[in-house]
Symmetry: C2
Subunit: 434 residues, 2 copies
């Protein structure tokens, strides 16, 4: 749900070039990256065209843009013969291609470092349509290209997602400095976990009414919901933004895990490393997804030790010390079992903290008492062991992802709140009182 109001600035179009995008082998995900990079500038993309590596298709796509448009062109900047973008754009605009000595030198240094002689392909990559500015590529070889051609502002970027992502900040900076984008709006960002979009919209509804000039955006993420608040450009909205900030902070409270671009696992890793603490996991229904998430980033061996995948009951008793009679009486998905799992894991792996989960992901295994989605999350700290029941509303795949997000975020809260305080509260909309 995007609630932003009218949008100023140029019409933005994206042309994604590549046979692989039209043969079912891959989807265009670069457009999303471009849109997100433009987020603060209050411009909106009006058309994406995906076309094959063929001159007439690229020319037709360029012809569909209009004078004054800001046009991103992705793909086809590599060094092989089917990389046509540079040449076709120059021909379409009726300008020469000229070798750029600086680009050439950068490419040669790059090849030299890798022990490769300059190839004919790299020579092509140093050619720049007259009037365009090369943008150095921090990840790969092909530079980005930005400039005015045929009344449009064109930005050409490589199709390899990592290279495009690496070049985007420089491209947006170039556009901004050359006056091709509306001035960035003042924005505030809150990244939240453990509450649904609907619950957050309700939580913020009074603040929304109080500050009607502010523009709200809500984005679903892997970890929860991001909330972006923007002051409309050129108004007194900046004052509203400053006034709304403490009210939102207070309304969201512990739901906020970050106010910048950090992901939830990055926050947990940073806080673990800061206090030189160690973590282990005991996973039943997620069967390794939490461990995999906690080790996604370089440096995770500084705090993550390992854990027990206790998918079957025999592993809960044998490797985590859950008593057999308790498991029989209370069931594998119960407060008692998850408390034993967390405490047993912390003790056996020998860490400061342990996170444990046990739940019914579905589609089978639900009962009237414990329907599909019922999940217990437990956390053992040096001072205590906590447990909380969740009731996730989705299918197997999504329930498992929600379990991972809730478990990692509960750990984040313990690190922020202290080892003796339960990390949960009523506003966590995935929780139901047990």
């Amino acid at each position: 749900m995007n609630m932003s109001g009218a949008v100023a600035g140029p019409t933005v179009q994206i042309i994604a070039i590549g046979d692989e995008l039209l043969e079912g082998r891959t989807s265009d995900t670069n457009s999303r990256r471009i849109q997100q990079a433009l987020g603060a500038h209050a411009v909106q993309v009006s058309l994406i065209q995906v076309v094959p590596d063929r001159e007439e298709a690229i020319v037709r796509a360029l012809d569909r843009t209009g004078a004054g448009d800001l046009v991103f062109v992705t793909g086809g900047l590599g060094s092989t013969p089917d990389d046509l973008t540079r040449d076709v754009v120059a021909r379409w605009a009726g300008v020469d291609l000229a070798e750029d000595p600086e680009v050439k030198q950068l490419l040669q240094e790059r090849w030299k470092k890798r022990g490769i002689r300059t190839s004919p392909g790299s020579v092509r990559q140093s050619q720049v349509p007259r009037g365009m500015t090369p943008l150095p590529n921090p990840v790969g070889s092909a530079p980005g290209l930005a400039g005015g051609l045929c009344g449009r502002t064109l930005v050409m970027l490589p199709g390899v997602p990592q290279e495009l992502q690496g070049l985007l900040p420089a491209a947006v900076k170039w556009l901004d400095e050359n006056g091709h984008l509306p001035r960035p709006r003042r924005t505030l960002l809150w990244r939240t976990a453990q509450a649904s979009e609907l619950a957050l919209v309700r939580t913020c509804s009074d603040i929304k009414l109080k500050f009607p000039r502010l523009e709200w955006s809500w984005w679903l993420t892997d970890w929860g919901v991001d909330i972006r608040l923007a002051a409309p450009a050129g108004s007194a909205g900046a004052d509203d933004l400053a006034a709304a900030e403490p009210e939102i902070e207070s309304a969201l409270g512990r739901l906020i895990y970050s106010r910048r671009s950090e992901t939830l696992p990055q926050v947990v890793q940073r806080r673990m490393l800061d206090r030189k603490a160690t973590l282990a996991v005991a996973e039943s229904c997620t069967a390794g997804m939490i461990g995999a998430t906690m080790t996604d980033q370089p440096g995770s061996s500084g705090f993550f030790r390992g854990g027990i995948l206790a998918y079957a009951d025999q592993v809960k008793t044998g490797q985590l010390g859950v008593p057999e009679d308790l498991l029989r009486d209370k069931g594998a998905v119960s407060q008692e079992t998850v408390l034993y799992m967390a405490a047993g894991c912390r003790q056996r792996i020998g860490t400061d903290y342990a996170v444990a989960v046990t739940g019914i992901s579905g589609p089978e295994g639900g009962t009237e008492d414990k329907p599909v989605g019922t999940t217990w999350i437990g956390i053992a700290t040096p001072e205590s062991v906590f447990a909380r029941k969740y009731r996730f509303p989705a299918d197997r795949e999504r329930n498992r992802l929600l379990t991972v997000a809730a478990a990692v975020d509960s750990m984040r809260r313990v690190l922020e709140l202290g080892d003796g305080d339960p990390p949960w509260q009523a506003a966590d909309s995935w929780c139901r009182p047990s």
Copy 2:
């Protein structure tokens, strides 16, 4: 690399409609599903347009299609006021919308089952542009719509990926039966793992020269590479296909894990359940990704028991019984360590089989002897313990994914070859002799 030759049949276009596709919140992945569903029919998509939920944008996109084109339109078929597709297409084509009694009845039965009275939105969903045929939706409420309008063949499908996927077979069947698609080609499919695309192209190069009329396609998947071989329509190619089949089978050998749409984890699950065998995992560098993969599908509790995440050395010694002096002398990433991990895991969890992995994913931790990407995979069976060194060529994220694919596929081979035979051979291009 798609090596198919000239393509017959109509020009295919896709129009994806939805504000969320233009605001950076989601990417268009439906086009890829459509392309794959058309795969056997030798037609190729020439343009994808992504446009917002606005009448003039949708009309302009429709105007860019040509007479004779086959046009898929996705999104905007729901029941809310911003779902415009049905109305805009009817206005653009100059035809009436009329309520379809069968669709209305299906919708009413659907709502009734859920205890909901027919809503005004559902009434809109039963309206059909004159001349179009409704296609029942097996997943959601909005029917698909197919028919000829303004000289084009139009297929309108919901934007929700599960609903689109559910409707695609009926849509392709309708197109086929009404003569809008070239007759499906005879095709053969081999799904392979543990060999790179380049290695497979080399392996098949002689067969390719021998049967020049056949069309080859190579697709990267999560598990390896799919190879599709197609006989060109209306030729003697079908004989070539039959003659090439045994040659390819023999050249690819154990690299093949499936000849139909099954995924690699589905194959392992099926074979495990067939022989009532049980599995455990011991994961270092992947830290749970193999366990998560083995439990992706319903029914996994029939064979998967659990495992040990031995990210830190203390867990390898404490929970898996790897001797401390061996770990010190040989290192955590070594044949000896992975053999102990696999055997220790199988014994401690009490399963028939155990898969173990230990490797250097990067970006840190590489040495001259053991560069980033060096990974050992071990498998313990009731008869033996095997280990093999791999050298993956990518970054942290991709090396971890390649490790998962190689480990799961090695387990698949043991299930096919027998408990006493090592599952590896020289043609596995990710392996390097140790």
